[in-house]
Symmetry: C2
């Protein structure tokens, strides 16, 4: 018997990315160097950080002039006013501002600390912002990879998130192209014929987590992973990460924290 | 160049599990049937449901006599009084009880809907409860597999969770043996020499998600996955899932929902 096997391959020795770089080309070339063949139905998982860098979404400290509003909020949350200036520009609404933490709903609909602005894995004395439109970034990378390889792939852009109730961070999808965000089991039957009423798995978040197992967070320089043989994932040309967003009213966890 | 590759193997055609079954033996036999060799450092991911079944943590509807308290709460949350009776027995404190949902902190410290009591993939007219002590269950399975194979493995028991802020469910670890729950990057330096101050990845939750990619939720009958070549995971004989629990006071997301 041949078991069901999914493979997660990290592309090693990926070059440093700078503004204007052609990520799709770099991914295809890195795959060649790693002796990895890009095939139909591969899922290419890309770290947010290199997408932001390629798109020029890195801002040097010296270019940031905090507004009065940013300075006031920075005082309240005890953070660098320049960081807060960037966060405010990326923010739709502030969810929590305390001396310990600044959590916002960003303009993409993501609930995240500092609107995803941070300075890990970017040149010193600079902050990186999330891609302006991660779905669009994913679609662009997908299209270019398909042009270069002739294969149909999916692309998932991922970033690291803290979450309520559990210690530590995990990886979430923030942009998708060519893959349905969910694997929906509702209406199917289980082993004993029971109808599944609730199960709607956020498969792109699971893909993000699986990819982090090879990517890492420090100087591994593995910002891209390729997932093979994930038959369960369903293709979709219209998919958007917005399907994962849930309004406060719909969120059954409201009032639990 | 040989790239960094992690493999996730689902053991297919796993037999139905019943109370008293020797799970470790069943896993080793299923691996043989699937032509999968269990090796040192393999991570064996096991669905909560088969652990609960093997441990007799399945209760038939006819055996449940709801208390007055359970009946009252059932009215409030519009759920079956028998379900609520079981939930209350598993509960440390109620986090939210509304006509839409019952969320509790269970006696293991997990924040979850219905204390993890459900009826998917158990015989009809019965509910399953989470294992009494999932760390202990994991340790027992690990020890027995090691005895049968002579190999050093880790075991992670997983279940499906809804989470705040994002639609859909993902898999979380609820019991661990032989593996550190975290991969801690704090104090390391990134690609540009920046010190990483926050990154402490909940690697066992990422492992749970990765395993779900092969396991599924319906009648796939793949309740066990084996993860190979995950060098980044660190072994620990004292590990406990309790390290993932975070108190309300420590949880920086408090007051965000």
């Amino acid at each position: 018997m041949t078991p069901k096997t999914v493979t997660i391959i990290g592309l090693e020795n990926f070059p440093l990315v700078k503004a204007g770089d052609d990520l799709a080309k770099m991914i295809v070339e890195a795959a060649v160097r790693n002796n990895v063949e890009i095939e139909d139905k591969d899922i290419i998982v890309v770290s947010q950080k290199i997408v932001s860098k390629a798109e020029g979404r890195v801002v040097k400290f010296e270019e940031i002039n905090p507004s009065e509003k940013a300075k006031e909020l920075a005082e309240k949350v005890q953070r660098d006013p320049k960081l807060v200036e960037l966060v405010l520009k990326e923010t739709d609404s502030i969810v929590k501002a305390s001396p310990e933490i600044l959590i916002v709903k960003d303009k993409r609909g993501l609930i995240c600390i500092n609107a995803g602005v941070d300075k890990s894995n970017v040149p010193r004395n600079a902050y990186s912002l999330l891609p302006e439109n991660p779905d669009e970034s994913a679609r662009k990378i997908k299209k270019e990879i398909e042009k270069l390889t002739g294969k149909k792939v999916a692309v998932v852009i991922v970033d690291t998130f803290s979450r309520p109730f559990r210690r530590g961070q995990v990886e979430f999808a923030i942009g998708v192209a060519g893959i349905k965000p969910f694997k929906d089991y509702r209406g199917q039957r289980d082993l004993y014929g029971n109808l599944l009423k609730v199960k709607n798995v956020a498969i792109v978040d699971e893909i993000a987590c699986a990819a982090e197992l090879v990517m890492g967070q420090a100087k591994e320089a593995i910002p891209v992973a390729i997932i093979k043989n994930l038959d369960r994932a369903e293709t979709s040309e219209e998919a958007s990460i917005k399907e994962l967003s849930i309004s406060h009213q719909e969120d059954l966890f409201r009032e639990t924290l």
